[in-house]
């Protein structure tokens, strides 16, 4: 069967499955729409959280980020998993006990302030919109590569599918489709990885293969990789080349940001009990770790495979002749994500680090006139099965997996946005007397509008679309996480402290990002060039969220101490959320 037909069949089958689930899991009440009726089993919720969390970036980009930098990008691995420890220990059980529907609602109630609630809504919407654009463009790319449709058409098909199950089923529909999407994406990620690990090391489990011996050379895989890349002037794969302080702060920002992202937090509102919320965070990390333990192996092995393809006789021998390049390179050249330019006109592909000063003499002596191959790091995971010459059903599975990762995260984000609009803005502020039925309808309309906006932004990505890490994680780290944590762990922080803390955290973080990346990301409006030499103490704009969080904590505590204590009923509220008993009563009045 032709590859195209097979892709169409596999992707089509998964889409039918999602639609089937949507029809089965319709939401009949606001509790079902916002929190799946709080009846989701903790293991099932863990699986849904894993799909909610692992986006197009985790599935497609992360292994490539690690492949081309090695150890220095370990921050993504530790940051995007370590956040779950914070979530499980500091936030999830208490927010479940509080028993409401949205993150801004907790902030508004705990700090008895509509202003605090609206600041939280604003941060939530900025962070989630930035995040969702990346998912929508990811859907477009996956469609155009595997199903040979226009980018825009792919985006419309993806949006229509999300529209169907998210508007119909709310959190309930999203939860059960996410479970199905998790199964598709984890199979799609691990199956090619197992094949490649077997080919390179003879070890079936990729995380063990990473530290095993390379079958062809008999050397440990990582030693072999270090040797191959340094022979071509690249940095050694396993060594640390960046600023240590920046690496620590970047990892910390990703961790705090992860724990503060509303679309992840609201998943823990769906389990029946406080103790379930604790277990569920553990299960979520089990399902996430299956991918995150595989990713560094995929990165290292894909890098080695790529180098072997281009230098079949080793780095000292002649590189590959362009006319003899494998089919997968031809396929990716069509998309423009892989480019060859024969700078020295010898018809062979010289791929090396032409920025390395120490390697320049070697390159010149060999008659090389610059690296001739540019590889977009996002193609590594998608091209992996083709590079390793795996059966065509595996390629079709990867296409379906990439789409599942993007769609599941998009749906979770859209749900966080639409419930903030219908529950916090409409029901909480504009029209408090709205009926249950009216609110459910409002929630569905907000969801439909949010999908429309996200689709439009996916078609016309604004300048900030590429800034997911800086904007979404930076804001969640600097504003939402500290407010939630102080709301639970302090009885002294009051309304004024919380608002002042969130606003200074927000302004500080945003200004630091704008100074380097341009005001509102308009190119050319940055005051300082975005390079390590210009960063204050070597702290990159992507790592500033952790500093913003510390400023938020400090300002909130100082302002609270200088102003009135919170009223007695707020202290009773804090005491009650700290104790699991009574979680059913807390939700009964809804």
């Amino acid at each position: 069967m032709e590859q195209y037909t097979l892709n169409l069949l596999v992707v089509g089958a998964t889409f039918l499955l999602y639609i089937g689930i949507a029809i089965w899991a319709r939401a009949g009440s606001t509790s079902e729409f916002y929190a799946a009726g709080r009846g989701v089993n903790p293991v099932v919720n863990g699986m849904a959280t894993a799909a909610d969390w692992m986006s197009a970036a985790s599935f497609i980009s992360m292994a490539g980020l690690i492949a081309f930098t090695g150890y220095d990008n370990s921050s993504f691995l530790m940051g995007w998993t370590g956040g779950y420890v914070l979530l499980a220990l500091l936030l999830a059980p208490y927010l479940r006990k509080f028993g409401k529907f949205t993150v801004p609602e907790f902030i508004g109630d705990r700090f008895y302030s509509k202003t605090a609630r609206m600041v939280a809504v604003a941060c939530l919407i900025i962070a989630s919109i930035t995040y969702v654009i990346g998912q929508m463009t990811g859907v477009g790319v996956a469609f155009s590569r595997f199903l040979e449709v226009e980018n825009d058409t792919g985006l419309f098909i993806g949006a229509a599918i999300v529209f169907f199950y998210a508007v119909l089923g709310g959190m309930k529909g999203v939860t059960y489709t996410q479970v199905a999407q998790y199964c598709v994406l984890i199979l799609a990620y691990t199956v090619p990885a197992i094949f490649i690990s077997l080919q390179l090391t003879g070890v079936a489990l990729p995380p063990l293969g990473l530290f095993a011996d390379h079958a062809a050379s008999g050397m440990p895989l990582l030693t072999k990789l270090d040797q191959v890349v340094t022979d071509l002037g690249f940095n050694a794969y396993t060594e640390h080349h960046t600023n240590t302080l920046n690496m620590v702060l970047f990892t910390l920002s990703l961790m705090i940001g992860t724990a503060g992202l509303p679309h992840v937090i609201i998943r823990f509102f769906t389990v029946p009990k406080v103790s379930d919320a604790r277990w569920s965070a553990g299960w979520a990390l089990v399902f996430i770790a299956l991918l995150y333990l595989t990713a560094p192996a995929v990165g290292a092995m894909a890098r080695l495979n790529l180098m072997d393809t281009i230098y079949p006789g080793g780095a000292q021998a002649e590189p590959l002749n362009y006319e003899e390049r494998p089919d997968w390179m031809k396929n990716w050249e069509i998309t423009g994500l892989l480019k060859f330019e024969d700078k020295n006109g010898d018809g062979r592909i010289q791929f090396y680090n032409d920025k390395s000063e120490s390697f320049a003499a070697t390159a010149e002596a060999a008659g090389w006139k610059g690296s001739e191959l540019t590889v977009n790091q996002d193609i590594l995971v998608l091209a992996n099965p083709e590079i390793a010459a795996l059966p065509s059903w595996v390629i079709a599975l990867v296409a379906a997996g990439g789409l599942a990762a993007a769609l599941s995260t998009a749906a979770g984000l859209l749900l966080a946005i639409s419930s903030a609009v219908s529950h916090d803005v409409v029901k909480g502020t504009l029209a408090p007397q709205i009926s249950e039925k009216g609110e459910l309808l409002t929630a569905r309309i907000s969801m439909a509008v949010a999908i429309g906006v996200a689709t439009w932004l996916g078609l016309n990505p604004p300048g900030f679309a590429a800034q997911t890490v800086a904007l979404a994680f930076g804001l969640a780290a600097a504003t939402i996480f500290p407010a939630l944590m102080m709301g639970i762990f302090s009885t002294r922080v009051n309304d004024k402290g919380a608002v002042a803390g969130m606003l200074t955290g927000l302004v500080f973080t945003i200004v630091y990002i704008f100074v380097y990346k341009g005001w509102f990301f308009v190119p050319g409006t940055n005051q300082l060039p975005d390079t390590p030499d210009n960063w204050i103490f070597g702290i990159s704009p992507l790592s500033i969220g952790a500093v913003g969080a510390m400023i938020n904590f400090a300002v909130a505590n100082m302002v609270s101490r200088a102003t009135d204590e919170p009223p007695q009923e707020i202290r009773e509220l804090v005491e009650s959320i700290r104790i699991p008993r009574g979680s059913k009563a807390a939700t009964a009045d809804h």
Binding site: I66, Y71, S74, L77, M78, T81, G82, Y84, V85, A88, L89, L90, P93, P207, L210, F211, A212, D213, M219, P220, L221, L222, T223, K224, D226, T238, H240, T244, M247, V248, T251, L252, K273, V274, S275, R278, W279, A281, G282, L285, V286, A289, Y292, L293, P296, E575, R578, I579, P580, R581, G582, S583, K584
Partner: protein
């Protein structure tokens, strides 16, 4: 009043547990994975050193164990102080 002081004890026990878990959380990631890596460079693991293993694999495994350990200990504390859910 006695219920109040028992709740305070429960909270203090929780804070102790959270603190211990977070120290381990920071030690394996920021410690062994990044800052202390040069100190661990003598211990080799599969073609590289222990710090690399912690940064790309070990810390994730420890995070997992920490969350399950915390859930297990907290559920026991809930019962000990009589604050578990009905």
């Amino acid at each position: 009043m006695s219920e109040h002081s028992s709740n305070n004890e429960y909270w203090a026990a929780n804070i102790r547990l959270v603190t211990i878990c977070l120290i381990i959380w920071a030690l394996v990631s920021f410690g062994f994975g990044i800052i202390l890596r040069p100190l661990l460079s003598g211990i080799s693991v599969g073609g590289t050193d222990l710090g690399f293993w912690f940064a790309q694999q070990g810390s994730i495994i420890v995070f997992l164990l920490l969350i399950f350990f915390y859930a297990w200990r907290m559920n026991a504390l809930d019962r000990k102080f009589g604050v578990e859910e009905e």
